[in-house]
Amino acid sequence: MIATTAASTAILASFLSALVEAVEALTIVLSVATVRGWKPAGLGAFAGIATLALTVVLLGPFLDRAPSHALQLAIGVLLLLFGVRWLRKASLRAAGVIPLHDETAVFAAETAALRSHARRLDWLAGLAAYKAMLLEGLEVVFVVIAVGAAPGMLVPASIGAAAACALVAVLGIAVRQPLSRVPENALKFSVGAMLSAFGLFWTGEGLGVSWPGADLAILAFAALLVMVAALAIVPLRRTRQVSL
């Protein structure tokens, strides 16, 4: 029961976070393809994926050699910082304090920027696709490694992320437009809560805390984080409406 819950949570967390990142990467790759064609977009994206694969192959063996508690603590702290950052941003967007992320607007801005360099070589456009794929991909790799840090969890976490990337790639090729209908902020909010919960769990494990309910504590932490964020969003939204 506990192992199934942990595996399901790992799959869901990595699937949703990879979905958000893949949608963002797709927007940039599509804008490159629109302005400069599919060749620089495809080459840049492929080079980004190759760099990511190389990074994983080179750094992977170091993870096996690191002491278990130190690794748990390092991953926990980074995951907590990463997750809380997402949760904070999604909460502020939900409260109307900062504007929602708009894939259509990002696509338009990126396309305009690329068009302003119309005389430059295609490598500039390829570089934009490369950078987008590398940075968004690094976030996915980090989440997969962090969420899959428990024994036997790396495969479920990888499956979740791979499924999300494949889904976005297929949809992107089919519609050839930014996937602006994806409810990105709701996804970011849920993923932020889940990743922060994993972060709290691993940080505690790394410090030597034994959590009651073992892996099930992750679900309790996620629920508490959602509750606290929701408690802050309601008054923030009210204040915002009054000031408008």
């Binding site: 702290v77 910082l81 505690g204 508490l224």
Partner: protein, 63 residues
């Protein structure tokens, strides 16, 4: 060179967006580590979870 500096900045930005929030979380973790070291039960875990929740709430309310 500018590309790599940009990538490095974005890498740091993955974990640190609001500096005060990141600092407060690190402080909570340090406090939890001290409590775990001094009191050998699960009080450190309570400090960690309650501290992180408080930091998140306070940061959002201050926005």
């Amino acid at each position: 060179m500018r590309l790599f500096r940009g990538i490095l900045q974005e890498l740091v930005g993955l974990f640190v967006d609001d500096g005060m929030l990141a600092l407060a979380i690190v402080a909570v973790i340090a406090l939890a580590a001290v409590v775990v070291h001094l009191v050998h039960d699960d009080t450190g875990g309570i400090v960690l979870v309650a501290g992180a929740l408080f930091v998140l709430f306070a940061n959002l309310m201050a926005a």
